[in-house]
């Protein structure tokens, strides 16, 4: 802008200067031409007087050579010329100025001289004898005069030009300076020029708008970050070149990446397992994909979806979930289903086989009670199993339709021991109840189920002549039932697993039972909020300690 203004000012001043120059030259030229002609007339008159009195002698008597002097006879023949040889010259009678002088006494002309081949000014004067004296001066002399006069003018012009140069620079800078001084980020209320006020106003309002939008965007981003940071699922957004655009810390944690993600880093630098790579590739190729990654016993499920904008794919979103627990549960469930089918099938096969033998009449009548007893026993086992499964699934659902009430653990234990007396006698196991009354809050059926199962196990997995001691006590932590036996015990490596469904230390199933007893204990205790701990030594016996939560006063 400064340059533009400077150039404009310079152009204007230059044209003014040039115009005045032309004007001055024009005026000066006219003036000097007049002067040259006047001088010529004067000289001619002066020389004419000399010629009148002395004739040819005067002319040839050393007149200055700076002007051409021609004396032409009345007939037009050249009598004398101080620049040329007179005899060689043609008749001048028809020359404009000569002709004019012959007619009118004097004549002037300004024309191209064929003799001198120059633009020439002529002045002719008729002498008394009818001859004509002519003086000529070149136009060139006019120009010399003009130029001489022009010298100071040109100097002035040069000065004026320099002044214009300096002023133009200064003025243009001064004009532009306030515009440059405007702070575009925060333009003041006052515009330096009135013409700029709408512009400044517009900038101000747009600045405000931009600030508002930036603020909104920042807030949105913070909200988005807050939400994604609080997600337990890992979220990764990547572009078509697998660069991470956005991520949350859960994603890094789930992918096992300890360091922060660098700007523009590839997602494959975070995890390059085959499954993960397939997900990324497929999603970037525009297909959804889901993969399960397993590593160090941890399971991650990755969902990858392509991101499309206006029909053009430009990235993918990856969601990483921790499914370790789910997968473990799934595995347990599968194991449970397989176990249940197996456990249900065993007695049924036995029943089926026995029934078939009976049906075919292959059994002697006296053996029938034995076979029938077999069927009865197996059917009972089946019912026991189904009952246990029902109890377990009720506990799983967590909704036994039962009332919570205070249960006297001592009284309950007494009745359980009575129920088991027959079985204990059969195994030659002595059962004793120690301690005193203790109260616990719970669902009586479940509490009974738990203690019954513990005592039942203590009898079942005992040696002949062994003992079972049930101790009920009221501890500061709450009511406690301890079931100690002198049985076969549980090996250390199996102690963690005995509470699993269908887990048996003795794989041969020789000891009977459904394999669900301790599982019912565990789930029941969990339902009631009670703790079960196990201490056991193989060959010496096991101790189960059941501690109920303290009853709130």
């Amino acid at each position: 802008m400064t340059k533009r203004i400077f150039r404009s000012i310079m152009a204007v001043s230059l044209s003014v200067l040039l115009a005045s120059l032309v004007l001055i030259v024009g005026v000066l030229y006219g003036y000097f031409q007049d002067r040259v002609t006047a001088e010529l007339a004067q000289s001619t008159a002066y020389i004419a007087r000399g010629v009148e009195s002395q004739g040819m002698d005067y002319l040839s008597g050393g007149l200055p050579e700076d002007r051409r002097i021609t004396w032409i006879g009345a007939g037009g023949e050249v009598l004398f010329d101080n620049w040329q040889t007179a005899a060689d010259m043609e008749n001048h009678g028809e020359r404009e100025e000569v002709h004019e002088a012959m007619l009118l006494g004097r004549g002037t002309a300004s024309r191209y001289s064929s003799t001198l081949s120059q633009k020439t000014v002529y002045y002719a004067l008729r002498l008394s004898d009818g001859s004509v004296l002519r003086l000529a001066d070149t136009q060139y002399s006019v120009w010399v005069l003009v130029l001489q006069a022009m010298q100071p003018v040109a100097l002035m012009m040069l000065l004026a030009f320099c002044l214009a140069l300096w002023l133009a620079g200064r003025v243009s800078r001064q004009l532009v300076e306030p515009i440059n001084a405007i702070d575009l980020n925060e333009p003041g209320d006052e515009a330096p020029y009135e013409e700029l006020s709408p512009l400044i106003g517009k900038i101000r309002s747009q600045n405000r708008q931009i600030q508002r939008q930036v603020e909104t965007l920042r807030q949105r981003r913070e909200e988005f970050n807050a939400i994604t940071e609080n997600m337990s699922e890992g979220l990764l957004v990547i572009d078509q070149e697998t660069r991470v655009l956005s991520h949350n810390s859960a994603a890094l944690k789930l992918l096992g990446c300890q360091r922060p993600v660098e700007e523009g880093e590839s997602v494959l630098a975070l995890d390059r397992e085959a499954g993960f790579r397939r997900c990324v590739e497929e999603a970037l190729a525009g297909r959804r994909r889901e993969e399960l990654l397993e590593r160090d016993g941890e399971c991650r499920r990755v969902f990858a979806s392509p991101v499309e904008q206006d029909g053009v794919q430009n990235g993918a979103v990856l969601i990483v979930l921790d499914v370790t627990e789910k997968e473990q549960r799934e595995a347990l469930r599968r194991e449970f289903t397989a176990n249940v089918s197996h456990e249900l099938k065993t007695p049924l096969t036995s029943i089926l086989g026995t029934a078939e033998i009976l049906e075919n009449g292959l059994v002697k009548p006296e053996d029938i009670p034995h076979f029938a007893g077999n069927i009865h026993r197996e059917a009972q086992r089946l019912i026991g199993l189904v009952n246990d499964i029902i109890k377990l699934s009720r506990l799983d659902e967590g909704s036994p339709a039962a009332q919570w009430e205070a249960v006297d653990l001592y009284r309950l234990s007494r009745s359980i021991l009575d129920q088991l007396a027959v079985a204990a006698e059969k195994k030659q196991v002595t059962m004793t109840l120690e301690g005193g009354s203790a109260l616990a809050r719970g669902v009586p059926q479940i509490v009974e189920e738990i203690i019954y199962n513990l005592c039942d196990n203590a009898v079942a997995y005992n040696h002949a002549g062994g003992s079972v001691t049930v101790t009920v006590s009221d501890t500061p932590e709450g009511g406690r039932v301890t079931v100690r036996d002198t049985g076969i015990g549980i090996p250390r490596e199996a102690q963690g697993r005995v509470f699993e469904r269908f887990y048996r230390v003795d794989k041969s199933h020789s000891s009977g039972g459904t394999g669900l007893g301790l599982s019912i204990v565990k789930h029941g205790a969990a339902y009631l909020g009670a703790q079960v701990t196990l201490e056991s030594e193989p060959g010496k016996g096991s101790t189960f300690i059941l501690t109920f939560p303290k009853i709130a006063e």
């Binding site: 070149e241 697998t242 660069r243 360091r259 523009g264 590839s266 494959l268 630098a269 390059r272 397992e273 085959a274 790579r277």
Partner: protein, 215 residues
Amino acid sequence: MRNKFDEQLEKLHVELIQMGALCEDAISAAAEALLKGDEELAQAAIEAEREIDQAEREVENLCMKLLLQQQPVARDLRTISSALKMISDLERIGDQAADIADLTRHVGLPNGSGMLHIADMARAVIGMVTDSVDSFVKKDLDLARAVYAADDQVDALFEQVKQELIDMLAADATYGEQGLDLLMVAKYLERIGDHATNVAEWVEYSLTGVHPSNN
């Protein structure tokens, strides 16, 4: 222009990661195939080897393009030249994994505790390959140096396996062919360890500008 260069460098990085990951897949599949006698895994290792060859050519092309079109200097030049060296080591790892997979098709691991060390060796080598690729991905100098240390361990394991095989053959010559094949497997594993070390060395070179073999 520079922006495009950075983009291409990043692409090179990603492709190297992918190639490294493929090598990890190949060697784990080959080792699993060896230890479990799984025909399908052996096939997977051989497939992976083909992909690795493909990846090597791609990375090579990319490197050449970068060298010719961008004329990189200093650190970038180091990155690209070490990438060129690294891919040939990675490609060798893939080849040897495929060779192991090929051998496992007719060598079952005999039941016996004597072979336990070949499993240890396979695990150690897989760890080395993973660490060398990791050191590249994470630009982790310490991890790269840990790979050199692991190589000594693998060499020691190789000696041990060799001795075990000698003892086995001395005791019972009927396992002759199997014993020799297993020795080759062990040798391949040992070579893979060396290549993993080379990769780690090139990682160090690209990071520091000094190749460890010059010290």
